[in-house]
């Protein structure tokens, strides 16, 4: 049993077969001739034993083509991410499309519209909003930074708070050695996580990420291997060149994962954004980001792997028209391109801010994009030819027919936040637009939604793991209770 999500049956493509092949060949050339820096001794040893050529002093690993092709062949074309609640298990691969929440460094409180650093309690409320919204099929932590915990263990606290407040699946991390603790936590809550691994562009697997690849592979948790060269900065200024570099880096990570545990599930994941040449910022809402998603999905299909993207994103600082048009274009492109794992919900300001108001708006966008994927159902009953003959010309109408009552719900999207009433009703209702309505829904759900509770013994176990992490990472212990 697994979560339904959406399905993309005829993916939109931008690259020809020959162009995909050219990108693949380019990556093989770079992997074998230039290689990658792997800043982690254990990983270099694993890669060396597996047949890569390693210069330990320079920390440089070169990947022979037959090894890379072996690793690609080990990757399964689909895999499960098992949830605590079996109905919420993900089955990534094939036509499946899932939407995920997007993290922020801070969050934008819908009650005050002020951006601030989250506490554990704020984080719990943000997770409950993710739990409540139906388009959040799976979670990436809503905030990556906690103001009331030491920085060394804030990610561990974020993940424990997720597990305590939702029975949906969550993404793990590897930053600062967090992968070791995430693996223990999901074991305690009897589920899997989708580990999140970030390659540093150009061509570096940092030590904590290398450790994460091994931790997730060996523990039997699938992982997303992410590469995100910034066009013009940490990648070439051209989209094709950036795709080659992104592909190269993902393949390098995949070789390590498959050597650590052959056959482990890997989500082929891109997050390339162009750098803005005026500000030096990542132009994360740019159209190129969506275009790159199409290329990313095509490459993953070429390799027979499920695909993911670490966006849609926007550079807007508030839930405003720019936030919506940038994210909507990317969401639409990602979904119609058949990216299996898409992260449209809640992000603002390129990972700077997580916004509950934006979450509720994005929930609507995802419903609409999902509707596009569903397409038009055509059969005798839905063609309604008999009905049209029966109703005939005006004064006949369809509102009073049993056919309408029987079918409208499956064909319509209703919304609590989109403005659809007529003008006078809108005025009488206080002239509220989408922002006010979305904020109200977000506040209500954050304050009232009750998640499926974590069994007390698992909760206790999470507390113990947090204490152990604190002890190991900073020596002192302040307490691990929720």
């Amino acid at each position: 049993m697994s979560l339904e999500g959406f399905r993309c049956k005829n993916p939109y493509e931008i690259l020809s077969k020959n162009e995909v092949e050219m990108i693949h060949q380019g990556s093989l050339e770079i992997l074998s001739e230039t290689g990658m820096t792997v800043d982690h001794e254990q990983s270099r040893k694993i890669l060396e034993q597996g047949g890569c050529s390693v210069d330990h002093e320079k920390q440089l690993v070169k990947f022979p083509t037959d090894i890379v092709e072996w690793a690609i062949a080990q990757c399964p074309d689909s895999f499960f991410v098992r949830a605590r609640n079996p109905d919420l298990t993900l089955h990534l691969g094939g036509e499946a499309i899932y939407f995920a929440s997007f993290p922020g460094f801070t969050w934008l409180d819908p009650k005050t519209q002020i951006r601030r650093v989250a506490t554990v309690e704020d984080c719990a409320k943000l997770v409950r909003l993710c739990d409540a919204l139906p388009m959040v099929h799976t979670l990436c932590q809503p905030v990556a930074h906690l103001g009331d915990k030491p920085p060394e263990i804030e990610l561990e606290w974020v993940h424990a708070t997720e597990l305590r407040n939702t029975d949906k699946t969550i993404m793990g991390t590897a930053f600062g050695g967090s992968s070791k603790w995430v693996v223990r936590m999901v074991e305690a809550t009897d589920q899997q996580t989708l580990g999140g691994i970030c390659i540093s562009s150009p061509l570096v697997i940092p030590s904590d990420q290398a450790q994460g690849i091994i931790d997730y592979a060996v523990s039997g948790n699938p992982q997303m291997i992410l590469s995100g060269p910034s066009k013009g900065a940490t990648g070439p200024a051209t989209m094709a060149g950036t795709l080659v570099l992104q592909n190269t880096e993902i393949l390098g990570g995949i070789v390590l994962a498959q050597m650590a545990n052959p056959g482990c599930g890997v989500l082929y994941t891109g997050y390339s954004t162009p750098m803005d040449m005026r500000y030096g910022t990542m132009a994360s809402g740019a159209a190129e980001v969506g275009i790159m998603a199409v290329g990313t999905a095509q490459l993953a299909r070429y390799y027979g792997m499920p695909s993911g993207v670490f966006y849609p994103m926007t550079d807007a600082k508030t839930p405003d028209p720019q936030a919506v048009f940038e994210k909507h274009l990317q969401t639409y492109l990602c979904a119609t391109a058949g990216v299996n794992y898409i992260m449209p919900l809640g992000g603002l300001d390129n990972e700077g801010t997580h916004s509950p108001t934006q979450m509720v708006i994005d929930n609507e966008v995802c419903k609409m994009v999902g509707k596009v994927l569903e397409g038009i159902k055509v059969d005798r009953e839905h063609l309604a030819i008999d009905l049209i003959k029966q109703v005939g010309p005006v004064p006949g109408n369809y509102l009073r027919t049993e056919h309408t009552r029987g079918h409208w719900q499956e064909e319509y999207l209703l919304s609590d936040v989109v403005v659809r009433e007529e003008y006078n009703a809108w005025v009488l209702g206080g002239e509220k637009g989408i922002l006010e309505r979305a904020a109200e829904v977000a506040i209500h759900l954050m304050d009232t939604h009750e998640p499926n509770p974590l069994p007390p013994e698992a909760d206790k176990e999470l507390g113990k793991i947090l204490l152990a992490a604190e002890k190991e990472k900073i020596g002192a212990v302040s307490g691990g209770a929720s």
Binding site: F105, A144, H145, P151, E152, E154, L155, F175, G176, S200, V204, P206, D208, G232, A233, T234, A237, M275, M277, R278, Y279, G280
Partner: protein, 217 residues
């Protein structure tokens, strides 16, 4: 070519961002025994100031700025060596050491800051990325800078900024240098909390902050 022509060509090479051309001109300047201080002031600095202004006005973009910075670096190595050899003295706005802290490989914001500081007459030593606290300390001991600028983009490495400051205190060197921090993971409140002297949200504001701290603005 006359002296003035050579220096003016050097300035143009900086503006256009052509390292090979600038190196050739700098070598010729040394060969013809033209005052290297004048070449730096009227050639390199005048050129990079034009580029800095163009960038600030939105007429030039980051690739222009960075290529001009690379050109400046290449030519200035030659002219600085000549100054050292001949023992000429010259005035600078101040000396700044820059680096991204250990565990963090993010380079671009710091490189922009280095360029803008150079354009503003500072003597800049850019240590690069993934710099351990010990290297910052050693370099401060050796170079005696007015300011040390550290950057961190990742939240997981922001604490390393605090670590360098703690080590500076332990060495009894905290009062010998101004500490300015910046980067994606740093906020003004965080900078205050870890005891930095200044904070720059971006490269432009970083220059402003450093000038302010040194009483130049």
């Amino acid at each position: 070519m006359t002296n003035t022509q050579l220096i003016s060509e050097l300035k143009e090479a900086i503006i256009q961002g052509i390292p090979a051309k600038a190196v050739e001109l700098a070598n010729q300047i040394v060969l013809e025994k033209i005052d290297p201080v004048e070449a730096i002031e009227e050639g390199l600095k005048a050129g990079i100031a034009v580029v800095g202004d163009g960038f600030a006005n939105g007429q030039l973009y980051l690739p222009d700025l960075v290529l001009s910075a690379e050109t400046l670096k290449a030519a200035s190595a030659i002219l600085e060596a000549e100054i050292k050899r001949t023992g000429v003295k010259r005035n600078k706005n101040g000396k700044v050491i820059l680096g991204t802290v250990r565990g963090d490989l993010h380079d671009i914001g710091k490189t922009i800051l280095a360029t803008l500081l150079t354009a503003n007459g500072f003597d800049v030593i850019d240590l690069g990325v993934n710099i351990p606290a010990e290297v910052f300390i050693e370099t401060i001991k050796r170079e005696k800078p007015d300011v040390i600028g550290m950057s961190s983009l990742l939240t997981s490495t922001a604490k390393e900024l605090a670590n360098v400051i703690v080590k500076l205190k332990a060495e009894g060197m905290r009062d010998s240098v101004m500490v300015v921090v910046g980067g994606g993971a740093v906020t003004e409140a965080f900078a205050r909390q870890i005891g930095a002297d200044g904070f720059g949200q971006n490269a432009g504001l970083g220059v402003k902050q450093i000038k302010l701290l040194l009483g130049l603005e």
